[in-house]
Symmetry: C3
Subunit: 434 residues, 3 copies
């Protein structure tokens, strides 16, 4: 070989790694950005647990506030442990078109990425973290609905089963690669898999528990039990709104390519404008019907818009997202008196927001996403509804006939704070009703 | 061609894409990071809406708390919709050295980036989202100043015009590439374009509305109406402080180059230390004057520091930023009694914080940024002040002579919560004054 | 040279920059991601200042709420200024195996990175910002313990010395490259360097101040002074939990390589599950001992888990982290009555959470991290404990014998809000005890 050839060869050999390096660079950066998106979005969704806590603490009567705070933070502890022990793998491990994953404990395996193979796309732990906080959100939906009369430990035991069994099994059908996803069922961030799942669990709980004493008069009158702290409820709604950017945005499941970043941007916009639409629609409707508007209805309207867009926040134009949210806002204004007519006592309006709008949002996906069909969406809504209703009823009834789910009438009258946890939420403030 | 030549050629052909790939990599990663910076910063700014809500809910009397909560969340809904329908394009579309953009609806166009051309720098949606939350912040400034006496729907109609017309037009002069920016006017994150704009609107509103009943006695005495919930006001200030990192940091408008990341870092530090300076200066000054310090003055001092540094948070050294903030803290302590002397009733001190310090911060830019001139900064302050005062006065007066802006005296006495939205903020707590 | 040779040469020359470019790309992107991780994590840690404020505002009696709010936001202002003026350089500048850095003012130097040399790894400002918010956290630990009886300005002067001298000196031993780190002492995110440091300062303060009037009866009875606002305390705990992802996650000090992203993911999971473990363990234990559970103990249990895992959140499996946190939760339930037995009056349980669990967490590191030894960890705990106890005692005593540290008995009875800052936290609410 002459000198030129030698030099050329040497240069080529030197340059070849640059090809590999460039390729690896892309992958490693993509891997990092995908991972970081899960972490940042996951923190925002974790923060929603605080949002639910504040919303519910603001909407219950002051004698039950400390208890609802405890339930909301404790359920997040339950979710964190159960989703590790069994939930994640039951939802994601080897579902393969079927009905559930494996009953095994989760463990991270990032060996390939540490060895330079980034094809997993993101770290195992960041994915677990992001999925775990969603599981917590499903529990949070329940706590508000069954507040002011459920026993603390019975509620937490229900959360154990919800996080460990019910949520992961139905979740596996959609996000774990199970039979519903194989059919083409589409639920971007969980209008059905998270919100309706929580909503159905809450519905069975509310029915089995029965209404709070005095809520429904003998003459058919519905007595209002006004929330004790409106700024806290407002703060909770703002927190949920904020967290929803992580909830829906992070559900792009990627950030490390321009297309993913664009998708997340569109999801942010649609999430926001659906909330705006739901809130303003609810406010106007309440003003027209009752000649006064109402702050809790505005808050529920915003949440209704958020739940409604959650099944499909990437595909719509902002205008369509505004409309999807606005319909959610109208639905919530209609649904709250509807459940009261049925004497299903939903303390914070969780059924109207999470169940009704969760269904609406899931069924609305085909309007803007041509890859989905109304029939498949309906199959998803119905099958998950049926499963969660049956499974959660079994758990509620099992609790009812063992340790009991409902507090004594006396405890309910005194308030759960004194009765269940021996501590008042606002011990220094003179209470009007006492 | 002999074998060597063939191999060399093949190798070269294989390697050429690595050059292109590497180039594209840079651009795509830069594009993603710029986009993500807008999204993350935008969430922080969105969160400031909650900060304003809590600050104002803490500083009004308990009989008006639910209403101020509703106003604060509803205005964010108005901003989200209006900035989509008309605001964004009026502010940014084809301003070209002129006085406004186009009256058209915003639409995302990321086709180029999806085809691999990342020269736009960031996704259209992420930019829209970031700019929209700024528009919301301008509204939030108004709500605190005119609280406790303005009608809910009149306030929201004012926000419609502010978000859809007034804010975008004056914003186009600076950030939309309009005549002021062509002159060299510099307002990094909006001391003038956001805070003073909100402040001028609030000033005209406060004058046209008049003071709350009983605020100014006949003998010239100023009656204190103490805020009803100091921890909420503190929380609101912390939220605003936190959100301001997104407000100022995100206004670097980029993250995908080392220089941008360094710029954002410096902006974070200066934003923080200006808040520290404003707060500590206000505390010391109040202690010296009144022999006691005051928590709401400390909170307003921190916000004063934040507003003051907002016009130029990138250029100063931390020491200079500390000084800019400290002057803001001193100004706010002087401005609050000044407005009271003029009998301009500003419920939360919004004029002192956002208008006075917004002006101060804008005029202070040339001290640390040699590319700006005091004269141009002054032209910006005056021209935007004149425009916003005139435009907002027209809107307030139009509202006054149609649906009315001020509640009846009786409603004001009972509190807007009962009168306007039929719901108390704290129904369980015995009120001292009743 | 023939044409083929010329083309080959030209192509090779064209391609060579791609190698360099690819290399630079990696570094610049890594630099940006490391910087951004500091900024985002730093915002989360800054937010913890609000968490401490809300936790403490919820746990003190209503007559001291405005004061504790002021202390908590003012201390963050002190930290921001002092860590700039002297703290950072004293902690990090030229420690070199020794006992402290230099008494000089911090200044950013990013010239190298701006010139294309990214070997610093991250911008100077992002590092300063991240370290400053940690300094603030150490102060926040103190304020809760010594609440309801300390004078405002004395407390803030103590914070000046803590942020400017005590915290940086002991911090330099571990994180500044001082003698402890040279020995192999390992404290990932500051169980000892932040939490115990704050805890020891709080302990000496609580002893020198003495207990609140009426806390310990003559007959040995411990009187409960229930917290005035449980939802605020819950919110504070949620905020701290959220912020802890930045506290521990950001302490990976990097994000720009896949290994760092994986490390941060594992830290997030372990941080979360330790909090879950601490909370659930505390709840169960309280239920078993007292036959009722307790919301403030659940909150402190979660915080105990968080402090416990902070010394070593990267190495453990999630199961081990759960256990480390659960032990923390058990310790806090035992420690709170223990300090009461010693008549050390710790208003919010800060000693039990931050000092006791800070020690436990530091000593637990060798169980999961084979690179550490129990002996070295113990040396770190003891030496830092001794230094902080001595140094903080000198400061507390100097304050006591000059301007005084404790309010008058009358002021304590009336409440610090009226006495020290002339403003009530909840002026509209009728107080039961008055």
């Amino acid at each position: 070989m002459n000198l030129f050839r030698k030099i050329t060869l040497a240069a080529l050999l030197l340059l070849i790694p640059s090809l590999a390096l460039a390729d690896d660079t892309v992958s490693e950066m993509t891997y990092i950005l995908n991972t970081f998106s899960f972490l940042v979005s996951g923190v925002l969704v974790m923060w929603m647990a605080a949002g639910f806590a504040m919303l519910e603490a603001g909407l219950v009567r002051s004698k039950n506030v400390a208890t609802i705070c405890l339930k909301n933070i404790a359920l997040f502890g339950v979710a964190g442990i159960l989703f590790y022990l069994v939930g994640y793998n039951l939802m994601y491990d080897g579902v393969d078109g079927g009905f559930m994953g494996s009953f095994t404990m989760w463990g991270a395996d990032d060996a390939a990425a540490l060895a330079g193979d980034y094809s997993a796309g993101y770290s195992a732990g960041s994915d677990w973290f992001f999925q775990m906080v969603f599981c917590g959100a499903a529990c949070s939906v329940v706590s508000g609905c069954v507040a002011e009369r459920i026993k603390l430990w019975s509620f937490l035991l229900f959360c154990v089963v919800l996080c460990g069994i019910i949520y992961p099994i139905q979740g596996s059908w959609g996000w774990g690669g199970g039979w519903l996803s194989a059919m083409g069922f589409s639920d971007y961030a969980g209008s059905t898999l998270v919100h309706s799942c929580g909503g159905w669990s809450a519905l069975t709980g509310a029915i089995i528990l029965g209404a709070r004493k005095g809520k429904y008069g003998k003459d058919g009158r519905v007595n209002a039990f006004p929330g004790s702290n409106i700024p806290l409820a407002t703060l909770g709604t703002f927190i949920l709104w904020m967290g929803w950017f992580g909830f829906n945005g992070g559900s792009a499941l990627a950030l490390g390519a321009a297309g993913s970043a664009i998708e997340q941007s569109n999801v942010y916009i649609n999430t926001n404008i659906a909330a705006c639409g739901g809130m303003i629609a609810a406010m106007i409707m309440v003003q027209l019907i009752y000649k006064k508007t109402d702050v809790t209805m505005a808050l529920n309207g915003a949440l209704a818009g958020l739940v409604s867009i959650t099944a499909g926040p990437a595909a719509p134009s902002p205008g369509a997202a505004l409309l999807v949210g606005a319909v959610g806002g109208v639905l919530v204004v209609l649904a709250i008196p509807f459940f009261d007519k049925l004497k299903i006592d939903d303390v914070v309006g969780a059924l109207s927001v999470h169940l009704v709008c969760g269904i609406w949002g899931t069924l609305a996906v085909p309007f803007t996403n041509p890859d989905t069909s109304f029939a498949t969406q309906l199959i998803g809504v119905v099958s998950i509804g049926a499963f969660v209703v049956i499974a959660s009823s079994i758990v509620w009834l099992a609790l009812k006939f063992t340790i009991g789910v409902r507090c004594s009438e006396e405890d309910e009258f005194r308030g759960l704070d004194v009765a269940e946890i021996g501590m008042e939420a606002y011990p220094d403030f003179q209470n009007r009703s006492i």
